[in-house]
Assembly symmetry: C2
Homo-oligomer: 156 residues x 2
DNA sequence: TCGATGCTTGACGTTAACGTAAAGTACTTG
DNA sequence: CAAGTACTTTACGTTAACGTCAAGCATCGA
């Protein structure tokens, strides 16, 4: 009745390799039964693995996911540890948002540079006599906020 | 006139170790001058290093940052490569936003569980006779959207 | 009975980004 | 001149999360 899986079966279902599943077991994250020597995964194991992979996608390490699972398994009186877990997740979110903001800024910088370069190309295409214009400096000075990423780098 | 630095000086200014700076050099990301055998970093080098560290903070590998810097240095006619770089940054942003969304969802789940656990504790404190209530299941069913992360795990 | 599969357990390889000695050189200060 | 300090290069160590053989049972169909 209970749908059972072999390593490779379940691995494929989950989109990972059998090696990974064995590795997770080695790390104590899952403990499938055995039929003789062969691993046999149940629906529960599959759920656990799904949680593990999710944690990974969220950027947590296997060790962290392990603790995570322990909490899921633990009796619910562990409100204290629950708090800590929630805080950890919130930290992670905060980190990601910082990164996102930084990236957003960088993206804007790059977009400006890109457009400047584009204009530069257009100019060269339109006016075939322009004798090797002064690269990006002047162009950016006209349109952008002359943000020069870090100061010079290209200078003398 | 030009403020110059030794490895350790600059490393400290940048909040990294001298080892890191030497490593970056080994990887071809910077090429400080030498005074005899000793490295001498200029303002330009400092700028470059700042860019490198920034790239790292943004979650890019040193190799990626290297290509990045090459573009900064390259002549501005590389609009094509510029495009690719911008796309890469956009990809990264997209990735981060996906992660953020996933995390947001997870956070909500966890918060619910946390609150349920809290209520559970409160109940135990208030009603000292409650004979070991049915853990989280029912509680969550009442308040949350019964999102059960992955199905069972805790079941029989 | 013979392969062909599929599973098992080692166990070493890999990548990134440094950490951490080890051993030697150079300058300078008491 | 001996210490001390800062620098150098060389090179092995580390962590994470597997990848990639290697060698060996076990089972199954023709």
């Amino acid at each position: 009745m209970e749908r059972l899986y072999t390593v490779t079966e379940l691995a494929e279902k989950l989109g990972v390799t059998a090696r990974a599943l064995r590795f997770y077991e080695h790390k104590g994250l899952v403990r499938p039964q055995r039929a003789g020597n062969n691993r046999v995964y149940t629906r529960r194991d599959r759920g656990r693995l799904a949680l593990i992979l999710r944690g990974k996608r969220l950027g947590f390490s296997l060790r962290e996911v392990g603790e995570w699972l322990d909490l899921y398994d633990a009796d619910p009186d562990q409100a204290e540890q629950m708090h800590r877990l929630v805080e950890k997740v919130r930290d992670r979110i905060a980190t990601l948002e910082r990164q996102r903001n930084d990236l957003e800024a960088t993206l804007q910088e790059l977009t400006e540079i890109e457009q400047a370069a584009q204009r530069h190309l257009d100019a060269k295409a339109g006016d075939c006599k322009s004798p090797d214009r002064e690269s990006l400096g002047p162009v950016r000075g006209k349109g952008g906020r002359s943000h020069t990423p870090v100061g010079g780098l290209k200078d003398a």
